[in-house]
Structure formats: structure tokens, C-alpha cells
């Protein structure tokens, strides 16, 4: 092939010492420091606990994890790469390659859980279920449509934040629930690593969305906001049905829905919008909140219900910048 055949522009070599947006380096550092692999988590310690679950509970758990695998696969192979041409800085592209790769690690880690705890037959059945489940397929399709090449770059970011900060949570609920009952605690440790990563991803993509919004006209900002709330409603409808199908059997649907409302509100805040669901609809079981952030009590000095300022555990204060 001749050198002059391709019209493709050569990208400029990336210079991390010349930043247009400090957030790019901040998030790059955060993500790279947080890097992990599933081999780091001793999943085999959950084998005995797994055996205490009923067959229905085991099937539910495997299905939930195949559903999460699908979302991670989409974000790894379609979502993060689709946002790369829209980047405002070269450093943002680098951060997105990190995000894409970590989604592959997440998708891969569910298979580590499966190979440790489940039989091949159970896992194959669950992947078949996820291929055929209409609600799971509908949510995947709704997100994929916004990732299409001709789609609006800012709408892609909206969908991406909803995937990272909302759509995962019908699934994440279950390992947090097991953890709150002292079951599958090592699996929960692995899921918490995934939740931590998704929090940075949703924050960063939401931040870039807000930067993009600043460049738009008031009319267009209103259009994008309407689009965001419209898409959230559409995804929420699907999530509700998905949740009912999964959780009705063990009687947890209403609790999971409160968790969905709570996370939908947080996803909107990542985009810079106000919450949609009222506080009373987004009140999550305290045991689930405690499973999300263990050792972090509810701090409310004002009402006297939280802990005092006497701090029992070590906190990292060895930052060089402090000079007292």
C-alpha cells in the first residue's frame, strides 16, 4: 500500500506535560492507581458459602452476573470506543482506553466467579438466558442505539453515564445483599472493586458531558436535558420489568427498586442535573448502604444519630503537602 493512499490524519503525539484539562490527569492517576485483576480476590473462599444458597438463589445470582457481563462487554467493545472520536483533548482519549480496558477486566472477572463457584452447565444455561431475556436485550439495545456512529456525541455521554451509574445497579444489589447476610463475602469484595471503578467512570464521563454542555446554546442544552430525562424514563421502565423478573421470586423487588431510584438520582447528578426521584422513594435499606461502604458509619453529628468526631480507625493523613 502506498503511503499517500490514506487520507487519515496522523494524531499528534500526546504530551502529558501540557494539559488542557487537569481532570484528565487527575482521573488517569485515580484509575491507574486503582488497577486490579480478579486473581487478587480469594474467590475460592466463597465455595462453602455458595453451597448454602438454594438452587433458586444460585440461579438468580448467576443470571444477575451474566446480565452484568453483558453491560461490561458493551461498554468495553462499543461504549468507550464510541466516545473516543468525540474527545475534546488527547488525554481524554487515553483515559477512555483505560476505561475500556477495565470494562474488559470486569467482564472477565464474572467468569472467574463462575469458574470458581459454578458448574459449566449452570453457566451455559445462564448465558443462554441472558441472550434471550427480552428486558436485558431491550436495555442493551436502548444504549447501543445512542452509541451508533451517526448519534449525537453528548447523547452518547448521557447513555454512557446511565449505563455506568444506573443500569448496573439492579445487578450490583444482589452481591451487596448477600454480603449484608455474611454470604459470598469475597465475591462482594470483587464487586466493590467494580463499583468503585464504575463510580470514577460515571463521574468522569458526566464531567465531560458538563464541559460539552457549556459550549451549547440554551435551546440545545434544554433539548439535551429533555433527552436525558426521557432516556432515563425509558431505561427505568425496562429496569423495573427486569427487576421484577429477577427478584419477585425471593421477594426483594421493592427493595431493589428503591436502590434503582437512589442510583438513578446519582447518575443524574453526575451529569450535573437535579435528582428525579423524591428522597422517600430512594431510601435504601441501611444494610445495603453499609455493604457498599463498610466501616463508614452514618455521619450525622447534628441529629446525634451518627458517630462523633472521635475517629477510631486510621485515616491517611501522611500527605506531604500538610505542614502542621
Amino acid at each position: 500500500m502506498k503511503d499517500n493512499v490514506s487520507a487519515r490524519a496522523v494524531p499528534r503525539a500526546i504530551n502529558w506535560n501540557r494539559l488542557q484539562d487537569d481532570k484528565d490527569l487527575e482521573v488517569w492517576n485515580r484509575l491507574t492507581v486503582n488497577f486490579w485483576l480478579p486473581e487478587k480476590v480469594p474467590l475460592s473462599n466463597d465455595v462453602q458459602s455458595w453451597a448454602t444458597l438454594t438452587e433458586e438463589e444460585r440461579t438468580l445470582t448467576i443470571r444477575v452476573f451474566t446480565g452484568l457481563t453483558l453491560l461490561d462487554t458493551i461498554q468495553n467493545s462499543v461504549g468507550a470506543p464510541a466516545m473516543m472520536p468525540d474527545c475534546l483533548t488527547p488525554h481524554e482519549e487515553s483515559v477512555l482506553t483505560n476505561i475500556a480496558f477495565m470494562e474488559a477486566v470486569h467482564a472477565r472477572s464474572y467468569s472467574s466467579i463462575f469458574s470458581t463457584l459454578c458448574s459449566t452447565r449452570e453457566v451455559d444455561e445462564a448465558f443462554r438466558w441472558s441472550d434471550e431475556n427480552p428486558h436485558l436485550q431491550a436495555k442493551a439495545r436502548a444504549v447501543l442505539e445512542t452509541y451508533a456512529p451517526e448519534a449525537d456525541p453528548l447523547k452518547r455521554k448521557i447513555a454512557s453515564v446511565f449505563l455506568e451509574s444506573f443500569l448496573f445497579y439492579s445487578g450490583f444489589y444482589l452481591p451487596m445483599y448477600w454480603s449484608s447476610r455474611a454470604k459470598l463475602t469475597n465475591t462482594a469484595d470483587l464487586i466493590r472493586l467494580i463499583i468503585r471503578d464504575e463510580a470514577v467512570h460515571g463521574y468522569y464521563i458526566g464531567y465531560k458531558f458538563q464541559r460539552g454542555m457549556e459550549l451549547e446554546s440554551p435551546e440545545r442544552r434544554q433539548e439535551l436535558k429533555d433527552y436525558a430525562f426521557g432516556l432515563l424514563f425509558e431505561l427505568y421502565e425496562i429496569e423495573s420489568r427486569y427487576t421484577e423478573e429477577l427478584y419477585d421470586g425471593i421477594g426483594l423487588t421493592e427493595e431493589v427498586k428503591a436502590f434503582l431510584h437512589y442510583n438513578a438520582n446519582k447518575a443524574l447528578q453526575n451529569l450535573g442535573f437535579e435528582a428525579l426521584f423524591p428522597p422517600e422513594a430512594a431510601e435504601v435499606n441501611p444494610a445495603i448502604l453499609a455493604a457498599l461502604s463498610p466501616d463508614s458509619e452514618n455521619h450525622d453529628f447534628f441529629s446525634g444519630s451518627g458517630s462523633s468526631y472521635v475517629i477510631g480507625r486510621a485515616v491517611a493523613t501522611e500527605d506531604d503537602d500538610w505542614d502542621f
Partner: protein, 137 residues
Amino acid sequence: MPGIVFFSSASGNTARFVNALGMMASRIPVSPKAVLPALPDEYVLICPTYADGEGRGAVPKQVIHFLNDPDHRRRLRGVIGGGNRNFGTTYGIAADVIAKKCSVPLLYKFELAGTLTDIARVRDGLHAFWGTECLTA
């Protein structure tokens, strides 16, 4: 008169929380070159967390530099932390660090830009904390 001092990065969650409180507040600038606004004689600091997985780097550099000034520390009465429970054990940990370093009470933690419940609790709590009802801007 007592008040609020806060830091919020370009993502603006803490700024939205403080704005919703509707109380007088001074913002620590993001840019180190910017001029610090006038400060209240006594204040509660509201600060987000940017920790890594081990809790390192939780307190924004700008807030550390601000608190390195003994006069700023002398006026500090308490701290409120922003964060995200999805960061697990390091949820809102910047507020724990500041409370410990400066020996002031950790008053409250909220997620992202806070909920309506958080805003009402902090507004009422601060009014009671200052023992005054005349703070509303």
C-alpha cells in the same frame, strides 16, 4: 458572623450542594493563582473527597494549602464531607482526615450534590450549631 467555606472542583457537585443550602459561603478557588475571597470569622468547611483506593490524596491540594494557614485553622469549627458510597471504606474520607488533623467535629457526610433530605438536615443542623437563625443569605 459564622459561615461556610467550601471547595468544589470543576465537576461542581459540592458547589451545587452549597448553593442549595442558600447560606452565605466563600469558595476556595480551584486555581492556586486566584485570590481567596473574604472569610467569615468562624466557619464550617464543606469539602469533597478525591481519594484513591487506599484513601491517599483524599483532601484536595487547594484545601490543604488553605488549612496550612494557622489563621484559617483557628476559625474552623467543623467539617462536612462530600463523597460517594461507591468508593467503599474511603467514602467521604477527606472530611475524616480534616477533622482529625484540625481537631474539629465531623458534622455530616453527603453523596455527590446531596439529596433534599441532606440539604434540610445540614441547613437545620448548621442553624442549631451556630445557635442563630439569622444566617440565610
